[in-house]
């Protein structure tokens, strides 16, 4: 089994100009978020995906950080869930990376409050959801008491 960190480095090193432009985008991939180790696996996978999608270093960091916040939310508040990575492409040709973070937890009772900085029910800093919204270009949440939570975020290259 290859170390996730190594595969990230390898894909970075093997990147050739134009490679990502001509190739078909990778198939969507779904990762479980059940343990703390899963959080690391998700971070590695998202880092590799941002490189694959052609993001610069700052955007890579934004997307991986947003993924880390959302995956942790699903783990801590949602009792675990999944993260799905997709590679959408705009009609204009811009490539992107979309994360769908899903859990079957209790849902968010007050979404506006949850999006406010400093609001926390989990002992964090309360910047996870609102912070992830600021770090990404598109952000939608589907949630309700007892319905679980689905957060879909997308970042596009070179906006």
């Amino acid at each position: 089994m290859a170390l996730p960190g190594e595969s990230t480095l390898a894909s970075r090193g093997a990147k050739r100009p134009g490679r990502a432009e001509t190739r078909r985008p990778p198939a969507p991939a779904t990762y479980p978020v059940r343990t703390e180790e899963d959080l690391l696996t998700v971070r590695h996978a998202v880092r590799a995906a941002t490189v694959e999608a052609g993001f610069g270093l700052v955007d890579q960091t934004r997307v991986v950080t947003a993924a880390s916040e959302l995956a942790r939310n699903a783990y801590v508040h949602g009792g675990g869930g999944t993260v799905t990575l997709e590679y959408p492409r705009e009609p204009g040709g811009r490539r992107g990376l979309r994360l769908t973070v899903k859990d079957e937890g209790p849902g968010i009772a007050d979404l506006d409050a949850a999006l406010t900085d400093g609001f926390t029910t989990g002992g964090g800093l309360g910047h996870g959801l609102g912070g992830a919204r600021r770090l990404m270009d598109e952000f939608t949440v589907r949630t309700g008491p007892g319905e679980g939570t689905v957060v879909v975020v997308t970042r596009w290259t070179s906006r």
């Binding site: 180790e37 960091t61 934004r62 991986v64 950080t65 912070g131 600021r134």
Partner: protein
């Protein structure tokens, strides 16, 4: 890999300063163990300063940020000053957008400047040669 005990983060002592660094993957367990070990060392060795090199951290999310803030506060309560050095520029940009300013955490551009702030001075190196140079 998974499930195996992580080796602890090394903590060196230089005079009354503890020098350490965080690895690029800081999981929750490592973060908690690191906080505990560092506070024990501060207390046991009477450290007045702590330098934490974070130049290998590729991501600081709100969990890691909270760890750094708590660590700094605990160290301050024990009488030690913490300087976090070497944050990568993309990490700094992301933290600001995330809305986290690491309030109360002192920072330095790199470990060298951090050590200087903690009272360590680099000796002017070729002292002899310089003196000879001016005498001529």
């Amino acid at each position: 890999m998974t499930g195996q005990p992580q080796p602890g983060v090394p903590i060196l002592r230089l005079g009354d300063v503890l020098v350490t660094g965080l690895l690029n993957e800081l999981d929750d367990r490592t973060a908690i163990a690191f906080t505990e070990e560092l506070t024990e060392r501060i207390s046991a060795e009477g450290a007045r300063g702590v330098l934490i090199d974070i130049s290998r951290l590729e991501v600081i999310d709100s969990f890691v940020a909270r760890t750094l803030m708590e660590l700094t506060t605990v160290a301050r309560l024990l009488g030690a000053r913490v300087i976090v050095a070497g944050m990568r520029p993309p990490v700094a940009i992301t933290l600001v957008e995330l809305g986290i300013e690491l309030v109360g955490v002192e920072t330095a551009l790199n470990p060298e400047q951090g050590m200087a702030a903690l009272g360590w001075r680099q000796a002017p190196q070729p002292l002899e040669g310089a003196r000879r140079g001016t005498a001529r």
